[in-house]
């Protein structure tokens, strides 16, 4: 039987693979910014150690493990042990960074982070991969409610970085800050965006990245990248958009955000998270506390278990894509 006839290649489909990039084609990126930033921080602080729960390769912790094998501790697929052990290490004076996926950090091992690290206010730094909708793998791995879960934990600092610049600058500040922290990790080839805005990350601070007369975007995480692109594109519609980036979700920089919100402009919050309990509700609570009586339009994931699928498909479906953001804004302005 002849086997010389080549099987025609199947058309390449968009998939729901666990590991996917949300970088736009041709976008400037940096490889494994968290892993390299941790190595750099560890060069200056010998107390820094790294732990993971069988997800070193998928949280960029492997970069640290290769650089400092004696300072890296593999805990196995055991997230409760991961957080308890990180707390035990912090009690001996070390500064642990412990990585897993955000779903396991928030849903599975909450009690251990809460009581072992947060109650004694230990310097335990949790690094959560696949926050929000950054995988098309389905609800088992999509941590769409991680901030909602974690915001109620006293003492915990929550950071939702936009890009490689945020991550590189946040890591040493997380190590230096007292108390536990949670970093919503962006891994692999991470877009580099904020270098064009004269920006520096300051723990606990929001930053106005650009001004605009018609609309104010208040955004965190990768949605700041989308917000900046949407702001550029909206200029073609004669809509002038300001962007305020709030990488620290808790403690929240209400002063900076309220100063921007308290105008006649349309206010839109943008987050890679369910509309329940994340950035939108954080901003809304501050607006109500200040008595501003201001309407806010949320761009956020719906209060649903999300579909499996390719990330671009899902970001479009659930309203996180630049095109959907533009449509939302134009609809609100009835342009």
């Amino acid at each position: 039987m002849s086997t010389t006839a080549a099987t025609p290649a199947k058309p390449r489909l968009k998939t729901s693979a666990m590991i996917a990039s949300f970088a736009d084609p041709g976008q400037k990126t940096a490889p494994a910014p968290f892993g390299h930033a941790l190595v750099k921080a560890a060069q200056e602080n010998e107390k820094i150690v790294g732990l993971t729960a069988d997800l070193g390769k998928y949280t960029d912790m492997h970069i640290f493990a290769q650089a400092y094998p004696e300072r890296f501790f593999q805990m196995g697929m055991a997230e409760q042990l991961l957080f308890g052990a990180a707390a035990g290490m912090a009690q001996t004076g070390l500064v642990p960074f412990a990585s897993t996926y955000s779903v396991f950090a928030a849903r599975r091992a909450y009690d251990f982070l809460c009581l072992d690290a947060a109650e004694p206010n230990l310097n335990v730094n949790i690094v959560g991969g696949l926050p929000g909708l950054t995988t098309g793998y389905g609800p088992s791995h999509q941590a769409t409610e991680d901030m909602a879960i974690f915001r109620g934990m006293p003492n915990l600092t929550i950071v939702d970085p936009c890009d490689s610049v945020d991550i590189e600058q946040a890591v040493p500040q997380l190590a230096a800050s007292e108390g536990p922290t949670y970093l919503r990790l962006l891994r692999g080839n991470v877009p580099t965006v904020l270098d064009e805005y004269g920006y520096t990350f300051e723990l606990g601070k929001a930053k106005v990245l650009r001004g605009g007369a018609d609309v104010v975007f208040v955004s965190s995480g990768l949605m700041t990248m989308r917000a900046l692109q949407a702001a550029k594109d909206l200029a073609a519609h004669n809509v002038d958009v300001a962007v305020v980036h709030t990488p620290t979700i808790k403690p929240f920089d209400a002063e900076t955000v309220l100063a921007e919100v308290n105008t006649d402009r349309l206010v839109v919050t943008l987050e890679n998270h369910t509309v329940i309990g994340g950035l939108f509700e954080t901003v809304a609570a501050e607006v109500v506390k200040a008595g501003l009586g201001k309407r806010i339009v949320p761009v956020a994931l719906p209060d649903e278990f999300l579909h499996a699928g390719a990330l671009p498909t899902l970001h479009e479906r659930y309203g996180l894509s630049v095109d959907r953001i533009i449509a939302t804004v134009l609809g609100e302005l009835e342009v």
Binding site: R71, Q80, L81, G84, G93
Partner: protein, 294 residues
């Protein structure tokens, strides 16, 4: 016989046992006093585990009472937060907490809350209470101390009910995998948990086989037999080191031990004692102790 493993000046096996039994007697006495102030509490557990606390604080632990945070100290991690009543008694016996402060147990603004918390009490290394945490923290403490070149040992007190928690077994595997020879777990097997007898709530036996299967050096003793307890601690210490098998001492104990009135009462996680019974309990405790030591 002269002991080489004791941290105290050379003493005979007999005098050592008597010294630690005297500490256990005082711990039980303090436990009863604390229970009376509250009118309730985990007195049964304090009495049952008093010998374990005494063996640790009067014999095993290298620490400095005047400096509870001394860097070189051995760590004692109380996973079962509700055993704090016994732990506070041991801290008083060890000179870390003033004896008179025990009267504040469980009261508003006390440093001695009902459930042990590191943020409240000197010498309390962790905040227990949510069961199944202690051994996970102990793994990190042992790893952290070893990584920093410390020779300090880590002791974790847990209970048989706590063996229901899966995290305990995550930690048991982790300790073995990382060869934490500087870690000793002690399990109070009083066969009782919140909803009833352990074997009716969730069967944990064969307990020794489970620990052995996880790669631990396992000993099982009568946890109210001081001679047996000290021998087990010696055997654990003899094979302790920066690397090696972690060690577990499974201690079968009797709730209410040392006070016949309570030993024979229907066993309950939270033991009720009438107001007029506290003095009777103390008298029975003292009579029993003096009878044994005569």
């Amino acid at each position: 016989m002269t002991l080489t493993t004791s941290i105290h000046s050379p003493e005979t096996t007999e005098s050592r046992r008597e010294r630690v039994e005297a500490a256990a007697y005082r711990i039980r006495h303090y436990g009863l006093n604390m229970g009376e102030v509250q009118g309730q509490g985990y007195v049964g557990q304090a009495l049952g585990a008093a010998d374990m606390f005494a063996a640790v604080y009067a014999d095993q632990l290298r620490h400095r009472p005047e400096d509870p945070e001394w860097e070189g100290r051995d760590r004692f991690l109380l996973s079962t937060g509700h055993y704090a009543i016994g732990h506070y008694a041991a801290l008083a016996e060890a000179g870390i907490v003033p004896v008179e402060e025990l009267d504040t147990y469980g009261s508003d603004d006390s440093r001695l809350p009902m459930s042990g918390m590191s943020t409240y009490t000197p010498g309390m290394e962790i905040s227990g209470g949510s069961l199944g945490h202690g051994l996970t923290i102990a793994v990190g403490t042992a790893l952290g101390l070893r990584y920093q070149g410390s020779e300090a040992r880590v002791f974790n007190f847990l209970s048989d009910g706590e063996l229901d928690e899966g995290s305990t077994w995550e930690a048991a595997m982790g300790a073995s995998h990382h060869q934490l020879g500087n870690l000793t777990a002690m399990v109070d097997i009083n066969a009782l948990q919140a909803d009833g007898k352990t074997d009716s709530v969730l069967r944990t036996e064969p307990v020794a086989d489970k620990w052995a299967a996880c790669g631990w050096f396992v000993q099982r003793v009568d946890g109210n037999d001081m001679g047996a307890l000290l021998a087990a601690f010696d055997a654990a210490a003899a094979q302790a080191g920066p690397e090696g098998k972690p060690s577990v001492i499974l201690c079968d104990t009797k709730v209410g031990r040392g006070v016949p009135l309570l030993e024979n009462r229907e066993k309950a996680h939270f033991m009720r004692i009438e107001e007029h019974e506290w003095q009777l309990c103390r008298e029975q405790l003292t009579a029993g102790y003096e009878g044994e030591t005569k």
